[in-house]
Symmetry: C2
Subunit: 621 residues, 2 copies
């Protein structure tokens, strides 16, 4: 349904789309669009072009699903120059009936499609999409360009499509969990597609570089290291063999600089030689237009019979020349050799292929589930709603955390200093006292917290001071008491958090506390449900992770306790949609599991009404 004038124009267009969908449903039809550019299927059996793209794409194995019709058509045109072939092109339009998830399911079974690429401005039914994408990306790589990264971009996206904007961090986390390769630009989408579509994934990250010019080889070496790949160290046998046919001025170590005199025979022999080396996982062939001797086309012809053997290692070509007849792009295309303009593009593409492979190899994560009686909490939410609260009281938070099995320090609300002293005698540990009042959210700011109290006098004075401070900002009837906690010290401070994203659901956050979160923004996110694998990746992906592993000979903290707590938080967030935000901070972690305790927590939600209000600040409550 190419026709426009539906939901995208608002007003009566919305009504028109509703009516259209009634017809579609009534006759049990499937519809693409409306407001789209159509569909192309290049399969020689069908050769269907039901689009108004002026470009007829090359037949290939890349499927392209685009939420923007015009962009899709531009991509088809630009890919013609890059010799990238397509199996299917779908312009999704308003996604009134069929959405990304449907197209993914179709492409999963679609034999000619080996690579799936998406341009998205919105994602519908993220739960279904996640399930499908996670399954399919284990079989075929999914490369996605999600537009609307920036706030203004998201605004432009929503006014363009009427789709709801989502936070970009949530999209990042979501794609990671789906195994989707997220790219930043159309250019990167092209690069990755070229690699995945034409060559097998390298077995490892060791690259050999063949070149007829020194400068580009140095740039290639820089790019290879930048993208986490390695320069292969060629065996003596390989170097000796190269020596037999390369001129004296050539370099036979990696990068192999065959110098400007290299012709198609030199390239052929050198490629054959390095491909045989066990220390080489893939080859980057750089061609600067040869001054005399030969042409890129002749070099390509020379590769015939060497590449495309079964089980062959992948080869990537960097052709630094203006595309003309003598470049023989169609020969490279026929040999399924992807041609890049810059060494950086080739390296980035190879790196993405390896990352995908690594993701596929890791076993899928598992979701742990605490079994508990949720009924026990219903009254908390009911009462909070009745009282018109926006935050849960500490006591309620504590009860919920305890039931969900989070590690907590001993904790009890008291009404007098004597009760606090009695607890001290029992525990024989330093205490923390905190004021407990729904009126006081930032307790430290008003002098409502005292820590490390030892001995009766310190505890009594602490209790009195806190009460006095609290009475300066509220009245006695709004104070429910003083919270007495076992003092937890030593170890490292980390923080867990949750924010409910309107599109993706609960985003779980992990980071180190204090300035690591507030200033350095050194945090990681995943969308619930969070598996054990997700949780481990969250912990490992913050920059300060080595601190948790232990620096300067210190023992590392007990990581599995954090992994466990992250999963419990994920379940808690899924169980209670009333909670919009949670902060478990600080979470003190030590090398011993039973010395890891959540010291403070804060739950916010709209318990008053069902109206959804999203807090602006996530991490700095």
């Amino acid at each position: 349904m190419i026709t426009a004038g539906f939901r995208e124009v608002g007003g009566e267009g919305v009504e028109r789309e509703k009516k259209l969908m009634e017809v579609v449903r009534h006759y049990q039809m499937k519809m693409i669009g409306p407001n789209c550019m159509g569909v192309i299927n290049t399969d020689p059996q069908y050769r269907m072009n039901a689009s108004f793209s002026p470009t007829e794409p090359y037949v290939g194995n890349v499927a392209f699903v685009s939420q923007s019709g015009a962009l899709g058509v531009a991509v088809l045109e630009m890919c013609k120059a890059l010799r990238l072939g397509f199996s299917i092109f779908v312009s999704e339009g308003n996604k009134a009936d069929l959405t990304d998830s449907d197209f993914l399911e179709y492409l999963e079974q679609h034999e000619p499609t080996r690579v799936i690429t998406l341009y998205q401005e919105s994602i519908e039914d993220t739960g279904r999409f996640r399930k499908i994408a996670t399954r399919i990306s284990r079989k075929k790589p999914i490369i996605a360009l999600k537009a609307g990264r920036s706030e203004s971009g998201a605004k432009a996206a929503s006014s363009h499509t009427g789709a709801l904007a989502s936070s970009d961090l949530a999209t990042d986390a979501f794609f990671k969990q789906c195994g989707i390769l997220r790219v930043d630009s159309i250019e990167e989408l092209f690069e990755l597609s070229l690699g995945f579509s034409n060559q097998p994934i390298p077995r490892g990250n060791r690259l050999a570089v063949l070149t007829n010019a020194g400068g580009p080889a140095i740039l290639a070496t820089d790019a290879i290291e930048k993208y986490g790949l390695k320069m292969a160290s060629l065996s003596d046998k390989t170097q000796n063999k190269l020596r037999t046919f390369l001129p004296e001025e050539a370099a036979v170590h990696n990068p192999v600089d065959m110098i400007a005199s290299a012709n198609e025979e030199t390239y052929r022999n050198a490629l054959e030689t390095v491909l045989k080396d066990d220390r080489v996982d893939a080859v980057m062939v750089i061609i600067v237009r040869p001054p005399i001797n030969t042409t890129p086309r002749m070099i390509a012809e020379g590769f015939r019979g060497i590449v495309q053997k079964p089980g062959q290692k992948p080869v990537f070509v960097v052709l630094m020349a203006q595309a003309d007849e003598s470049c023989g792009l169609e020969v490279f295309q026929e040999l399924r050799l992807p041609v890049y303009a810059y060494p950086e593009s080739a390296a980035r593409s190879i790196s993405a292929m390896l990352n995908y492979q690594q993701w596929k190899k890791k076993p899928a994560g598992k979701t742990a589930k605490v079994s508990l009686d949720k009924g026990a909490f219903r009254h908390i939410f009911a009462e909070s709603a009745a009282e018109g609260r926006e935050y849960l009281s500490s006591a309620d938070v504590q009860q919920i955390l305890k039931t969900y099995g989070f590690p907590l320090p001993f904790s009890q609300i008291v009404q007098s200093a004597d009760e606090a002293i009695a607890i001290y005698r029992e525990l024989k540990k330093p205490l923390v006292l905190k004021i407990e009042s729904e009126e006081i959210v930032h307790k430290s700011d008003i002098g409502g917290v005292r820590i490390s109290l030892k001995g009766e006098r310190e505890i009594r004075n602490g209790f009195d001071e806190i009460m006095a401070n609290a009475l300066k900002v509220t009245t006695a009837d709004r104070i429910s008491g003083v919270l007495v906690q076992e003092m937890v010290s030593g170890g490292r401070e980390v923080a867990l958090g949750m924010k409910r994203d309107p599109n993706y659901g609960p985003m779980i956050m992990f980071g180190m506390g204090g300035i690591f979160i507030e200033v350095l923004k050194d945090v990681s996110f995943r969308i619930a449900p969070v598996t054990d694998r997700d949780a481990r990746e969250m912990i490992e992906s913050i920059r300060a992770f080595p601190v948790l592993q232990g620096v300067r000979g210190e023992a590392g903290v007990h990581l599995e306790t954090i992994v466990d707590a992250i999963q419990r938080l994920s379940q808690l967030a899924l169980d209670w949609p009333q909670i919009l935000e949670m902060d478990l901070n600080p979470f003190m972690v030590s090398p011993e599991a039973d010395n890891c305790k959540i010291v403070d927590a804060f739950f916010a939600g709209i318990f008053v009404s069902k109206k959804y209000r999203l807090p602006v600040v996530l991490i700095n409550v």
Copy 2:
């Protein structure tokens, strides 16, 4: 001198180059090369092509100086497709006589050259280069691609050119101080050149986007924010005017989506309208191949008379189509409109232009100089050499720091606990005790440090423990005593450092101490001499800078004290080339200037022999 077979082949080639240079000097000639690809001057007055580049570049205002001949030739060829014109091309070869600095000086005066681009694998005489580049980059932008970023890349670079590899961080710092725009890839070099060469620098960062397709506009919006630019908020007048000629379905806010029906007249009118808006500093025009109506060439023709007026705001074109006849690239070229393939490329280029402008606007920094009698220290280095030391003693370090005016806590070496106690009585402040022995470098590791000692008993016990611990690892005659220092506490911990780079000279480092340096690598570098402006930029550029400014209502630390100390360190490093490494860490800084003190320092050098040995680790002494 195009001929090869000189220094680059080693052995007798080196001799050959020496002889060549004798001839050159004898006849007071100037020589480019040897081992290069030649020189091109496109000036219609000369039209000199003394190179074997098969491509004749377009006449333009970009000078390109390339250390790699083959890469240079490839660049000329690729730029033909991008319609980027050159004034001068120089292939430098071995730089036996003329080097980058000479070419820069020539290009400074070269009227047709407005933009200077460099591809470098090595930089000779960095002192001279810095002076010249800093001067010229205030007149003409210098864009440099320095290859050999990675360790392997540097190895490839040195084997390729015989040039000495330099640490990449030093290059980064050096270029910043020279005002050189460093790019990461050939592609970025092209992009920036296109922008600088064709359009004036925008007055501000507010962009208007005109488009005939929604998707690319969202990508443009994302890219604009990513690169620190802003989407202009169009005035009502502009929006009303746009409304008069755009169809109802078009969007008249920014991005202005003129929809697929836009023809050359629509583009022309819209461009004219947004250029008049005071809230717009520059315009990005996106063209996806129009389905019917018009062609990119006709759109370009329509822009005639609108662009290229004196004082006109800059316009950047994003043409998402396969380059063919109908694209009219030569019309865009004639109108001096840079054409990019992707919105990201245009945004990155505009952002670089603004950064350059900002750099130019800032006043040049000043170098403060402490006047002192250097003679007083000669004996320290002489004695250290005589004793065969690799590190200076604490006492010597202290004397040097004191003379150079660094802020130090009270400090004295004592031989007995009684002396330490006497100091305590005098100062009335808690003390730190540290073992003092040239045998013991990492004092804390062996229990040679005690802090926060108050009262006679604590001090006596501390002294005895330190001595006992020291005697476990060395003998009494190797212990010169115990250093007694005033305890400095509170405030924030920062660290200063210096490492001598073999190519650039002293690299000055700044960062926050501990894991900020060791784990997060949150540090900044500049090359000595460091100006006040450099020092301020160093402090402001670490990620944790907001912590020093004060978070959560805390007062910020006294930044000018750090600025001052950085400059003193820079002078000290330049004064004494014997010192290879310095560490002033921790440097405790507080809101009050007189509460900022350097608590520990460590100087390493090779005082034994003149042989230059570079330590491997910079920041973790």
